[in-house]
């Protein structure tokens, strides 16, 4: 209590929003210097608004006031215990009360493995605000329910990165988000993934484009894989279009080894734009495509005049 002569107790300092709050204020007259004379009249204030309590005599000459607020609709408020003294209201005790909801289930958990440092960055949607201090942690464990590790997002963020040393590569890991506050815990769906299956690759590099075989409507592209993917089996896609084309033409199923690809059916004397992207050739549907490579243009040669 604030003055030592009164003590305020509440049923729970944190309650579900809209639920009842009960409080009790006990005033011990002999500990309140200046209150020795006259009747002790206890008043309650919720922040700055008077609320009515019921007062009775307590054990050992104390005065006790009980208060019930049937529907506590503040997310945060101070409950003051006051006594009347010389025509004034003296605040002699206080309790802080918070109200809110159990944490919402974190949604849309997704993760990406960054190949430059093999850190696994996961993000999710936090869901409705619980109005209460809530601790959120990303948890992950090897598939044998071994030690649980993970990471903690910075305040107000809903993403964090699990460092490489806490990951198990090339094997299923269970990953989920856990949110906890005074009113409960909520968990996201559990992802069961091999971190490698969500590796985000840098795009390949288109090295050269040439009209080969010569004097045909074919071109041959040479490309290089991104650094750090040499050991991977990849599948790649090529897209190209002439400036006037409305849509890209897409060539799929290009095997991922660095090398060349040949494509025919190009118009003569026409400038084309080319881009390529790759992803890991893994069974997982979660495998991320790299971004498209920077655009590379090439103008096909003019058609050779046919002799008459």
């Amino acid at each position: 209590g604030t003055l030592g002569c009164a003590s305020v107790t509440v049923g729970s300092p944190i309650v579900p929003l809209g639920s009842a709050v009960t409080a009790s204020c006990t005033v011990q007259r002999e500990l309140c210097r200046g209150l020795e004379q006259g009747k002790v009249r206890i008043r309650w204030m919720l922040d700055n608004k008077l609320v009515a309590g019921s007062q009775r005599q307590g054990p050992g000459g104390t005065e006790v006031s009980n208060l019930t607020l049937p529907r506590f609709n503040h997310t945060q408020a101070r409950l003051w215990c006051c006594v009347e003294w010389n025509g004034t209201k003296q605040r002699v005790g206080m309790a802080e009360i918070r109200a809110g909801y159990p944490p919402a289930k974190p949604l849309n958990l997704s993760c990406v493995l960054n190949l430059s440092d093999y850190g696994l960055t996961c993000q999710w949607e936090q869901g409705t605000d619980s109005h209460l201090p809530t601790s959120v942690v990303l948890k992950c464990t090897g598939s044998r329910a071994q030690e649980v590790t993970g990471c903690t997002p910075r305040e107000g963020h809903s993403h964090c990165t699990v460092p490489r040393r806490l990951l198990q590569l090339y094997r299923q890991m269970e990953i989920w988000v856990s949110a906890t506050n005074a009113l409960g815990t909520a968990e996201s769906e559990h992802l069961c993934i091999d971190p490698m299956d969500v590796a985000k690759l840098d795009p390949p590099t288109l090295q050269s484009i040439q009209s080969i075989p010569f004097q045909t409507d074919c071109i041959t592209l040479a490309w290089d894989l991104a650094w750090g993917t040499e050991h991977m089996e990849l599948q790649c896609e090529l897209r190209y279009r002439a400036p006037e084309d409305s849509a890209w033409a897409l060539v799929t199923g290009i095997s991922g080894r660095a090398g060349t690809a040949q494509r025919c059916g190009f118009l003569f004397g026409t400038q084309y734009h080319f881009q390529m992207r790759c992803r890991r050739n893994s069974a997982s549907a979660l495998a991320h495509w790299s971004e498209w490579s920077p655009c590379r243009s090439y103008t096909t040669h003019e058609k050779a005049p046919t002799g008459k």
Binding site: Y118, R144, Y170, R171, D194, M196, E230, M232
Partner: protein
């Protein structure tokens, strides 16, 4: 154990074939660093010195035989990974500027070993659990030069070890 048709086993093999390729790439990167910084690049220039050194070489004969057993081969791969994980401390001391690459390699080796261990357990094969911290005493070298050459051969032996392990995994994947 009749494994060839087992989908999980095939997925395990595909994943850890790629993982082994990655580790071989990491070891090759360290070998390039040793070559660039210590000018130790060719094995055949160091055969004489090698005779004075006691360099760990993990046995892998169980994975050599044409009709090898997955269980004994896997156990030898794990035992070898454990030996080389300890030996990498020698490399870390040699190349303080590349501690990150050595740590990545040690992490990858530990992961590969535990991936194999879990697969063996899934197949009800007997497994050994190695202590996370390697207690084997580090080799001592009579000179800094011998220490450098020792580091060179640890990487060379380890690269060969990985090549054999890779072939064994690929053989299993082809069954």
């Amino acid at each position: 154990t009749e494994l060839s048709g087992d989908q999980d086993f095939q997925l395990f093999l595909q994943r850890n074939l790629e993982f082994t390729r990655k580790i071989r790439g990491d070891v090759a990167a360290l070998q390039r660093v040793v070559c660039d910084t210590l000018q130790l690049c060719k094995e055949d220039e160091l055969l004489l010195v090698r005779q004075h050194l006691d360099i760990a070489q993990a046995p892998l004969e169980q994975c050599h035989k044409r009709t090898f057993q997955a269980e004994t081969c896997f156990s030898q791969i794990r035992a070898g990974l454990h030996i080389y994980q300890g030996s990498l401390a020698t490399i870390q001391a040699l190349l303080p500027g590349h501690a990150g690459l050595v740590e990545t390699l040690q992490l990858d080796m530990a992961n590969l070993s535990s991936n194999i261990q879990q697969q063996m357990e899934d197949l009800d094969l007997a497994t050994v659990t190695y202590p996370t911290e390697n207690q084997d005493p580090l080799p001592t070298f009579s000179s800094h030069f011998h220490h450098q050459v020792g580091g060179f051969f640890i990487l060379a032996n380890f690269q060969r070890f990985l090549e054999t392990a890779y072939r064994a995994l690929r053989h299993l994947a082809s069954l």
